[in-house]
Symmetry: C2
Subunit: 454 residues, 2 copies
């Protein structure tokens, strides 16, 4: 609470500085803050105040702050648009390449071209290279501001290189060792350099079993390597082991957050990251799913309608429709979630497919049996009709087993087709299992009809 | 694929080394690997082979590997049990304190006491201190192996200190500056030390606006600070600003993963992290939820039963029960997910409560209106009965609005009561909305009964 208050006071002071045109005070107070706080402050400003900021700060100083802005900020386009084009382009050139690329990707082609044409050639070509990589790959999240040296030098000279580039590099805590063809041959941590003798050769102390990722690797796989090895950065190479860039752990945290949000969204059938919209916009995002599922639900409705004769003869059957469809839907949702997670965290997929489906169906039989038995007893006591209890219990057990089968089968199927299994949603599985459950229920009821109608 | 294969060959070689009792070869080949790979290899071994490993490696060497084992590994108890107690206790003392604590926490009190009593006093007391902190707080995930110095020295002497402690510290990339009372006064990164002149004073170059977390802070808040500031480590202090430890980014990745898994589990109504169980065990974990919801579902069943007269008079009504309950359940699940996420990523809760509920209800009205209109048209065409269509559409709209209200209200309520809002599950909301939807549906149907019965 104290820290928030202190920050609020700072922000107020900075606004005063802007108001009074106290350039020097503003610069001092602003640059003293962490870039994240700078970005928080910047986002509270009006357009007129922001114009002053652009006048007071160098493109490099603004670039540092823009490195801390979230890439999915909706206002970035406006921010860039209100700067002079030269200033904006210089700022983009000064940002870490990966962040500049994220930012440029939010613009339309024409604007992007304008800024790139204003940059000096080297900066522009570095950015253009990264723009080529497919979304959600190692190439798309890597940066080119890394430190690389050759092996044939002493620790002393390596440290000298490191000090020189320390300010521009995104991390200096790992130094990558390359040969004359820029092929990655090793890695050495700053910690190792520091504890080594100054006269030792880099070649003698480097770690030549370097873990790297390929530029086309999926960002989820890159994140998994970070989890396993606890690295702060990983080198990215092409198929011939040329060092292209590095991925740093802060970008991996964003990847992990994004993947988690998309898994959660998938299960709920709604994009949970778009939460700051007005109700009409929010509704327009949710309706496609709801209407699609409404049509699937219509299949269930017409199925029940098909059995109208059965229902009007034994209207007690209607009472248990939602109980059976609901419970099967709940069980199917559980299966779905387990299957999705198992797919995400398992390498040996072929084996895992069958194991998971088999396991889920067996789990369905067990849960179905116990749930079915419970409802049998309840109905027997409630209605004094053991046959009716048996019909409901039997339908429950079969419906749960089929729901578990569907819950585990659908993500596997998605995965086989090359989709992210996590888009398989809970609402979809519950709506689908409504259909199968009703089918099972009325078929079993028809079979035993003559026995339970008093 | 290549890397996996190479690793498999290494593992095979190591097994050969163990088989032939080639101590020296084993040590060389084993210690050359990254600790994560060492731990992967170790976990493929039989008990007899592991016993050899304990004979071949020093407690410190084994400790490094144990630092890379996942804390939730089920076999840790067995591993420790099969070592000599002295060896195990020495190994625990050599691990990073936070990891040792995680590991000890999986043991029973008696075993824990045994190992602690065998350690030298300093190690034991460090561990005991950490054992006191409540689960899921900064104190529980911090480590005590950090570097702290006083401000009143030159960069040269600070670098000298750093080199000396580099091997034992969990990270040397941030050095924390404390006063004579061990109160945190600043932080300096290794990068800053490296680019500064050797004769400069630490006091002149340190950053005195140091961001820290409190030892009792929730681990989710700590993770949020890491996300905002992109730090590699954060200092942990008590209420009087005494420096107690640091939290490192690799532990934060585990926190983020755990929280994501628990959110996902909550929404699905199943613990997705326990996936390697046999079907009976898996069923026993899922049944409590299913049976609880079965009883809630019974309320819906008896409600429908209550309207038996209505259903037997107009059995067409039965056909639309699952359509209405299903669609409302889907909408409620969407609301729930949005509300849970909004609570997790919003500081200003009081304001957010009302805003979220209001927004969700309005979204419900809009989606309900359009979905209701759609079904009105469908039923009108299908059954040639506009009044029936109106009844179904009206019920749909009201049911969706109420489901959205429930979906946003329940997580807020949980949060108010001090529970994690993420435990509010999709299955619960769908089962609850079955009840409200049926209530709404039959009431509206009763009202218009005389108009749509042909």
């Amino acid at each position: 609470m104290d820290e928030t208050q202190e920050l609020e006071e700072r922000f107020a002071q900075l606004r005063e500085d802007l108001k009074g045109n106290y350039l020097q005070d503003f610069r001092e107070n602003f640059l003293e803050m962490h870039i994240y706080e700078q970005s928080q402050f910047y986002q509270t400003l009006e357009k007129k105040q922001r114009q002053l900021v652009y006048a007071y700060l160098s493109p490099k100083e603004l670039a540092d702050m823009f490195d801390a802005l979230e890439e999915d900020n909706e206002n970035i386009k406006d921010y860039l648009g209100e700067m002079r084009a030269n200033y904006a382009s210089e700022m983009l050139a000064q940002m870490y390449t990966d962040n500049a690329v994220d930012l440029l990707n939010t613009l339309d082609k024409k604007q992007m071209g304008k800024y790139l044409s204003l940059m000096d050639e080297e900066d522009a070509s570095e950015i253009k290279e990264l723009l080529h990589y497919e979304d959600e790959t190692a190439g798309a999240i890597m940066t080119t501001e890394f430190v690389s040296i050759v092996a044939n030098q002493t620790v002393r000279s390596a440290m000298y290189v490191l000090k020189k580039v320390a300010k521009a590099a995104e991390t200096i805590y790992y130094t990558y060792v390359v040969d004359q063809d820029n092929q990655l041959v090793g890695v050495i941590s700053l910690r190792d350099l520091l504890v080594s003798d100054d006269d030792e050769m880099v070649a003698d102390i480097l770690n030549d079993r370097v873990i790297s990722v390929h530029v086309g690797d999926d960002q989820e796989d890159v994140a998994q390597t970070f989890r396993d090895y606890d690295f702060l950065a990983l080198p990215v190479t092409d198929y011939e082991d040329h060092l292209l860039g590095i991925v740093t752990v802060d970008d991996i945290i964003d990847v992990i957050d994004d993947e988690a949000a998309s898994d959660y969204s998938g299960l709920a059938g709604v994009n949970v990251e778009e939460v700051h919209e007005n109700p009409v916009k929010a509704a327009s995002k949710r309706l496609p799913w709801l209407i699609t599922l409404l049509f699937l639900g219509m299949a269930t409705a017409s199925l029940i309608n098909h059995y109208e004769a059965l229902v009007s003869e034994a209207s007690i059957l209607a009472a248990f429709i939602t109980l059976i469809t609901g419970t099967a839907g709940n069980a199917g949702t559980q299966s779905l979630a387990v299957a999705v997670r198992r797919l995400a965290f398992n390498d040996n997929k072929a084996k895992s497919y069958l194991q998971t489906i088999f396991g889920e169906v067996l789990t369905g039989v067990v849960t179905g049996f116990i749930t079915g038995l419970t409802i049998l007893v309840i109905v027997w006591i409630w209605k004094g009709n053991p046959i009716l209890g048996f019909v409901i219990g039997m339908a429950m057990m079969c419906a749960i087993t089929v729901a578990n089968l569907a819950g585990s089968l659908i993500p596997m199927f998605m995965d086989k087709l090359g989709f992210d299994p996590a888009v398989a949603s809970g609402p979809f599985i519950t709506t689908l299992s409504d259909l199968t459950s009703v089918l099972i229920y009325f078929n079993i009821a028809s079979l035993f009809m003559s026995y339970f109608i008093g």
